[in-house]
Symmetry: C2
Subunit: 281 residues, 2 copies
């Protein structure tokens, strides 16, 4: 099990807070420095045991850190990685927790100093919940973290970031940034769009007539609109493409309903059930 | 608290089984007769405590019952209500648990003997789970049951069926069959269609990249395709109309993604979040 003297977490919300709690619970770091914009959030995170120290000053916060995890919204990640790379000790490893990867890597490619050790990560552990008060030390246990090394990364970079996520209980897989964004558009971003459209479409007057099914189907629509606007816009080409098979399937069911084609409707519902059953509850 | 000497349950799956368990747990019925097509299912329900007796013969099963609850798939409900009405004691109350109401009422109107006491019910307590093994005595606690009286029903019919569902812990609201079907198309049937299209659209190869959000959003797609084919076809005009605001919302987000319109996208995601937050977790 690896251990770190000082880990810095930039952005201490659900993900950043959970990283802090997991590091503390597993005694993996002596110091955990939280970096953010709002004192109140950082104080909450410290009170909950996710941080040993905190600061509003990123350069100061990463000054002694061997490991820096940037957990801010996707549009801010490049600037925070650059700032961290300019202020951290030589040899420190920097990673992130952004839900998209291509734009971040493209922004850093060329601007980031060649000696800086940055490798992209995306822990598939988000939720509609927000903030350090929702964080928990077990958030990453059994979850998948996608790591997206590029040519600039050494094998050691990958091994180090893999050891970090594994130490928190996660499984690590690697993928190119392009493959990550294309596949996550289907497996995650599309579901957000669909859940939001459904939550938007049903009149609150009909809410008393909803049950568990509607609640489940729309739950992620409660996610932070600003975070999701950034994710969806950042990955919009892939999201638009991921919408196509969804729209085809919906249109086929619509056609079956219009024509009263029982066999066609049942065929699609059966395929959907088989696929969903394969996923487990 | 009302009590019944003999209650018959026609169709002992998740809903029928839960009614039996709830009646037993609350000591509301001396005998609970399960009626079905498959011995195995009925034996399971009896072993789990949902039934005191069972039979494959509907006429026999309802012969001594004061209350008969028909919990079969929507297309079979009219024939089972008619059969029950022809064999039950005079004055027995018959209700159902079908997810649609207009077609059932229309089929019974005219064919059902004028002296038969049938009143339609729809407990909003379904799930993607099936069968008596998934049943539980608390399924109806805090849930809403929509009761759809028509001109043929007396106030006493409504009071009796209301007392039944309340005794199981549910809240009862009343509505016309037409209003029920129109509103449930939006609050329930639409979500099933959308969840199925999403489950169908995502390649199983991308399943390892899904997380809780995708699982929640697609959970109900695991529901029984035959039951849902019947519900969606039965209520297809309303379901097609309920699809319209969903498609408008999705198209508006698609347009915002294509044009990169941040404000427009965030506006829709914000509206969706406000509506979803109003519903609770």
């Amino acid at each position: 099990m690896p251990a770190w003297k000082t880990v810095a977490i930039v952005g201490v919300g659900l993900i950043g807070g959970s990283i802090g709690l997991a590091l503390r619970a597993r005694k993996l770091a002596q110091r955990i420095v939280g970096i953010g914009r709002r004192e109140e959030t950082l104080k909450t995170a410290q009170r909950l045991g996710a941080l040993t120290d905190w600061t509003l000053n990123l350069s100061q916060g990463v000054g002694d850190s061997e490991l820096i995890v940037v957990c801010t919204p996707v549009e801010q990640i490049p600037q925070h990685v650059l700032a961290a790379a300019g202020a951290c000790p030589a040899g420190a490893l920097i990673t992130d927790a952004g839900s998209t990867k291509q734009t971040i890597l493209a922004a850093l490619n060329g601007t980031l100093d060649r000696t800086a050790r940055f490798i992209g990560s995306h822990p598939l552990a988000g939720s509609e919940k927000q903030g350090p008060a929702e964080a928990n030390a077990e958030l990453f246990v059994g979850r998948t973290v996608v790591v997206t090394p590029t040519r600039r990364n050494s094998k050691q970079d990958f091994r180090d970031v893999e050891a970090f996520w594994r130490a928190l209980g996660a499984d690590v897989i690697q993928m190119t940034p392009a493959a990550h964004d294309r596949r996550l558009a289907a497996s995650s971003h599309l579901a957000h769009l669909v859940a939001a459209a459904l939550a938007d479409a049903v009149r609150p007057a009909d809410h008393p007539l909803t049950a568990g099914g509607f609640r489940d189907t729309t739950r992620i629509a409660a996610g932070d609109p600003e975070l999701w606007t950034q994710i969806l816009l950042d990955n919009r080409q892939n999201v638009l493409r991921a919408l196509e098979p969804f729209e085809r399937s919906l249109a086929a069911m619509q056609k079956a309903l219009k024509s009263g084609s029982r066999a066609q409707l049942k065929r699609i519902l059966t395929t959907a059930k088989i696929k969903r059953d394969a996923l487990g509850s």
